[in-house]
């Protein structure tokens, strides 16, 4: 094909520059940086307990689902005891169970959530027991 003239070159190139700029923006933003997953700190109490409410893999991926289940059962069915898959009993409570073991919320829950950019609205009402003391 013979070389043809481009019309409105200035405007077309300006538009393309914006397009390419938007595409490579995340690459430029992170240039030379590394952003590995955060290191989580387990509190002494959790370390002593060794195990979470359920298996670690389940907790990592589905703890929000578990919390939802707990919330439903407590608020709607007035049932406060959870029996996990290995028969162990827990009181279904966000502040008194989860945050009892994971007492350093900022080093555990928050660190992970900041990285994944989730902002659970739970803390509008529920308290971190450590913070209130």
């Amino acid at each position: 094909m013979p070389k043809k003239k481009m019309y409105d070159q200035g405007k077309v190139f300006a538009g393309l520059a914006i397009f390419v700029g938007l595409l490579i923006f995340p690459f430029l933003l992170n240039l030379g940086k590394a952003a590995p997953a955060p290191e989580l700190k387990l509190s002494d109490k959790a370390k002593a307990a060794k195990e979470c409410v359920e298996s670690k893999a389940y907790m990592t991926a589905e703890h929000m689902q578990l919390l939802n289940e707990w919330r439903e059962t407590v608020v709607r069915n007035a049932q406060r005891v959870y029996v996990n898959s290995s028969g162990k009993k827990f009181e279904m409570s966000l502040s008194n169970t989860c945050l009892d073991c994971h007492s350093e919320k900022a080093e555990f829950c928050d660190k992970c959530h900041n990285y994944a950019a989730v902002t659970p609205y739970c803390w509008d009402c529920h308290v971190d027991p450590k913070e209130t003391m």
């Binding site: 409105d8 077309v12 538009g15 997953a37 893999a57 990285y115 609205y121």
Partner: protein, 378 residues
């Protein structure tokens, strides 16, 4: 019967299965997680630029804006400065409204026969509603996905997420845009299937992108609400991609690769399909040209200079011979042989050939009066 949607559906299912099964084999994760997405991103960028430059090389010989308002004319006639823009500012406003609100689609009408033989035109808004919902949902989902590609994540993205999840249904909170995206894509598909005349003109290339996007939205929704992936590992993986230190973490299952592979296919398909309307809208001459054809002379850029020989010129050349054989001529005086013999040719000849050429020069947009100039002078 038009069954091209079946081919498209089968194609998307095969692609999804290919990614699901492929990612399980040794090396498959690197292939579907790193190599394909990076190649797809490259194809998308280069292909997009190629298409735009190709379009920019096509001349637009005439002003062809479509308008639906009074053109600017006499000062006491009210003109529509956005519907029928004569200024660049007007065009910019019109383009923004077109891109952001799909203004021309809003005016969509349909015609049908009523009571057998009465032709009726009706305002058809549902395509506009579906298209607007679809595009805004798609845009919101893509912007929300930026959280995987930035660290730290800007506050405005978290705000968008809060807004999108304001219904606070379930945990993880339901994101409206994801649901609207899937629903709108299904609606647009049903429209093609259920309206007979739209089905008649629909091709496999109309169904394929719809199924592809449905597949992407469906796998995403599956991953977020049902089968679950470890988001933190996904983010570590995507951050590896954008920092150009790619690695494959564990804990992200087959569905993630299906999602990612379908997105890669979408990116590769994009520049070579009707989806290029993303770039095309900005280059459509029916939208981005001013309607100033009455005020300004626009010259076809591919006009080659035409050699013309006007009658005056012709007469100058042959006047003597014409008078000799008794043909009538316009300018008798100079052509009269009995008067001064040196006079006839010199004063007239150099002037006449130049004047008719003025309007022919393509580069110089002449004044509005220019075309009439030759006649007035004589």
């Amino acid at each position: 019967m038009n069954i091209s949607y079946l081919y498209s559906l089968i194609a998307v299912i095969v692609l999804a299965l290919f990614a699901y099964v492929g990612s399980k084999f040794g090396g498959g994760e690197a292939l579907f997680g790193i190599i394909f997405p990076l190649l797809a991103g490259l194809t998308f960028t280069v292909g997009f630029i190629y298409r735009i430059v190709d379009w920019a090389r096509s001349p637009v010989p005439f002003r062809i804006p479509t308008t639906c308002g009074q053109q600017k004319s006499l000062p006491w006639i009210e003109s529509a400065c956005i519907e029928n823009p004569t200024t660049t500012a007007g065009v910019v406003v019109r383009m923004i409204l077109e891109v952001v609100l799909f203004r021309s689609l809003f005016r969509n009408t349909t015609c049908e026969l009523k009571e057998g033989d009465k032709l009726a035109y009706r305002w058809e808004i549902w395509l506009w509603v579906g298209a607007l919902a679809f595009h805004y949902a798609f845009f919101t989902v893509v912007v929300r996905h930026l959280r995987f590609f930035m660290e730290p994540v800007p506050v405005c993205l978290q705000f968008l997420e809060t807004l999108d999840g304001f219904l606070q249904i379930g945990l993880p909170g339901l994101m409206l845009s994801g649901v609207v995206l899937l629903a709108a894509a299904v609606f647009l598909f049903l429209r093609r299937i259920l309206t007979p005349h739209v089905r008649y003109i629909s091709l496999a290339s109309d169904y394929f992108p719809l199924f592809l996007i449905m597949g992407i939205a469906f796998s995403g929704i599956l991953m977020r609400y049902f089968t679950k992936v470890e988001i933190v590992n996904v983010k570590a993986f995507t951050m590896g991609l954008v920092t150009l230190q790619p690695h494959i973490p564990d804990g992200i299952g087959g569905i993630f690769y299906v999602h990612l592979f379908l997105v890669s296919v979408l990116l590769v398909y994009f520049p070579f399909s009707k989806l290029m309307h993303l770039g095309g809208i900005f280059m459509s001459p029916t939208r981005n040209l001013t309607t100033d054809t009455r005020a300004k002379r626009h010259i076809n850029p591919w006009n080659s200079p035409v050699k013309i020989h006007t009658y005056e010129h012709y007469e100058d050349e042959f006047r003597e011979k014409m008078v000799d054989v008794g043909l009538p001529v316009d300018k008798m005086l100079e052509a009269q042989p009995p008067e001064a013999p040196e006079a006839p040719e010199t004063p007239e000849a150099p002037e006449a050939p130049e004047t008719p050429e003025v309007p022919e020069k393509p580069e110089v947009p002449a004044e509005p009066e220019a075309p009439e100039a030759p006649e007035k002078k004589e």
